[in-house]
Point group: C2
Chain length 428, copies 2
């Protein structure tokens, strides 16, 4: 048996501790599978004296993750600190410069600096892996990069923020409004320190940016994504959607659109009978579509100690087994920049708005839509408060620019009490 | 760019032609992903002159797949002939002996001869890959061997014969009996030449045997599986199960049981709200459970030209990328033989039987179950013909041997008109 593969682990939060636990618990199994022993030689975290419920005595300690990344006795630097800049980025860059392979769970770092890191890694001949950064324990990076390597990918979709899916399904099952469920999540510790990362779609957007780069061979470009959170979704939206046979999901979609790449992380309506529609609670789901394979659906825990550490260890085992692929599946320099700004593919839309309770208000809205070339499939005015009446409209398939024209014209009619909510009804 | 990877493809049926098509259509994409061009140098099939709708002129032709396997200008032998023995086996053995890597879609060959082939391949330092052999386009071998390498696998489950799932869901949705739907499938060409391979559970059993070997680090042992087909399932079973919130699936389950390995491919009841319960039509689904990752569900097309060829090409790309793992994830010689015969884990059971319409018949059956230590959760006698009355029983969790004792005692009471049907209600 060859010499052990030596890990330096920076960051001993939930995922770091989970990773240490697997290495300790399954030493023999990992050695048999990886073809060499997997050992931890050194660790780093902010506080040395915290009790983490795991034995760290046999490992060297570094206060500074950069120092850890450069240690002679570390073959693979495992970055579990998090954050798009700061110590995580410094340490990953230091590891790459020092010729170490890197395993990370850091979606923000890769979404913002993935191209530069990929180029640096390939220039140094080292490998950078990040299965844990997308959809936790689901081996989706591997499925896309390797399992579907024979396919031109046509579309990637995913529910990749468990907290958002928990909120949306809890609202529906308990009939509660957004604010109430959001507070429940705060109390249960389900939210990031900055909850906008979750409910604003940013965390899920980071993940989608990575999948899109792999799927379409493009430079990772988080800034090009359209991102909307779930803060505007009301219990009425959820109930009305259900009434029409849909569920509302914070859904990421990436697909080629002409010479551009369309990538959105937005609340969408999906058929309740589809795998995405049936996804309840904090579970993640990724849908991969390829020209040969058709549709592949992957489902599993998107966060938590065990699932995320499982993905970290899978990357480590791959390195031990000699699996060395370019960071985004093809050489970093071969990744393309889309030639044009993506135009959203046409879609049916669900619209909700509050109209002032004046004669002719509904007719004005209908006229505005018609003038913009957006045709109405269904329209419904339901129970209303003193001064305004909520109105729901489902459109036929419409171009996004026609819809935007209509939405902007609506606001000038004087009959709309607040900015209309517009959600795509996604074809799946 | 290095020299091309040269394929020799034996077998030009649906999957072979699909593989040729992907290589031709996506030459540039494959080269970028694989790091070297993928080329076909030679092909082989039974009939040279058949029009297969694909251009084969540039490739050398071999009538004999063994000759193809040994050609100097072939680096990877792609076996798409099928069959557990005969030319497929001869050619794979010849390729291994000649020091070629092998990619195959042949589940029967590997289920019957996997251990010997793995040992031969490892002795020769060549790699044998078979992603296409299990669940078509779903990258399940990769997910299990690599993606979940950090997990002790606790259970593997799968619906892996699309025809059986089509039959069972079609019976339910159309209210048709088994024989009628079976005939429909025959007319549609959905069945293997020997339909027992499908409806008898053999094809799905081959796939389960392969997954079990990888999951539990055991020698592949098809003979140790418990296999039952779907021929006994009636429309009444399906409707009664639905009435209780279940669906009937031909479900493969493999799990450790003491020092043994329990592996069954049998019709089971699963909750209709579970991912397996919601699976309709010919789609396949595999559920992988690990101690760290929890439950991962993979869903996709289990057969057909595109999906199966997608898996073949994924294996080819892995070889080009230098991914070289042992056939069953760990060295063939390290694979274990289970120490004891597996005992089925206890389960609730669904029982259906025809009782002669005599006073006290139902009481006799209830007494027999009680005497064997099997307690009854629900019991139901429904609409009956002239001489016999159908009876349904759902038991509480019971040991298999207690149930078998009861089933055998029932047949001796003289009140049972035919052998009772007993289906597990699987905990998922």
């Amino acid at each position: 048996m060859p010499t052990p593969l030596r890990l330096g682990i920076a960051g001993l939060g939930t995922v770091g501790v989970g990773t240490v636990r697997i290495v300790q618990r399954h030493a023999q199994m990992l050695a048999a599978r990886a073809g060499q022993a997997i050992e931890i030689t050194a660790v780093s975290a902010r506080s040395r004296n915290k009790d983490r419920g795991v034995q760290l005595d046999g490992y060297a300690w570094e206060d500074d993750p950069v120092a850890l990344a450069m240690r002679e006795d570390v073959d693979v630097f495992v970055e579990l600190i998090g954050g798009e800049d700061g110590p995580a980025k410094d340490a990953v860059e230091a590891a790459v410069s020092a010729g170490k392979d890197v395993v990370t769970a850091n979606k923000a770092l890769l979404a913002m600096h993935g191209q530069a890191l990929a180029e640096a890694a390939e220039a140094k001949g080292v490998t950078l892996r990040y299965e844990a950064a997308v959809a936790g324990g689901i081996p989706v990076i591997k499925a896309l990069t390797e399992g579907l390597a024979g396919n031109e990918i046509t579309r990637v979709m995913g529910v990749m923020n468990g907290t958002c899916n928990y909120i949306l399904t809890r609202m529906q099952s308990a009939g509660l409004d957004y604010t109430t469920v959001f507070k429940e999540c705060e109390e249960l510790g389900y939210l990031e320190a900055d909850p906008t990362l979750d409910v604003g779609g940013i965390d899920a957007g980071h993940k989608l940016a990575l999948l899109a780069a792999i799927a379409f061979g493009t430079k990772v470009d988080y800034g090009a994504l359209t991102i909307e959170g779930i803060e505007q979704i009301t219990i009425e939206d959820i109930e009305q959607a259900a009434d029409m046979g849909y569920r509302i999901k914070l859904l990421g979609v990436a697909q080629k659109s002409g010479n551009g790449l369309e990538a959105r992380m937005t609340p969408c309506l999906v058929p309740e009978s589809s795998p995405l529609g049936q996804l309840e609670g904090p579970t993640n789901m990724v849908v991969l579509e390829g020209d040969a394979v058709g549709q592949i659906v992957l489902r599993g825990a998107g966060a938590g100690e065990g699932p995320t550490a499982s993905a970290v260890i899978a990357d480590v085992c791959d390195l031990a087994r000699g699996i060395r692929l370019p960071v985004f599946g093809v050489a970093a320099k071969a990744l393309e920049t889309p030639k044009e700004n993506a135009v959203e593919t046409p879609s049916a839309y669900y619209l909700r708005m509050e109209l002032f309770d004046k004669p002719g208000a509904l007719a004005r809205i209908a006229a505005v839509l018609g003038d913009s070339g957006v045709s109405i499939d269904r329209m419904r005015q339901y129970g209303h408060s003193a001064e305004t009446a909520p109105v729901l409209i489902v459109t036929h398939k419409a171009a996004r620019d026609a819809l935007d024209t209509a939405l902007s014209a609506m606001r000038q009619t004087g009959v709309v009490a607040s900015a209309p909510v517009a959600l795509r009804i996604e074809d799946i």
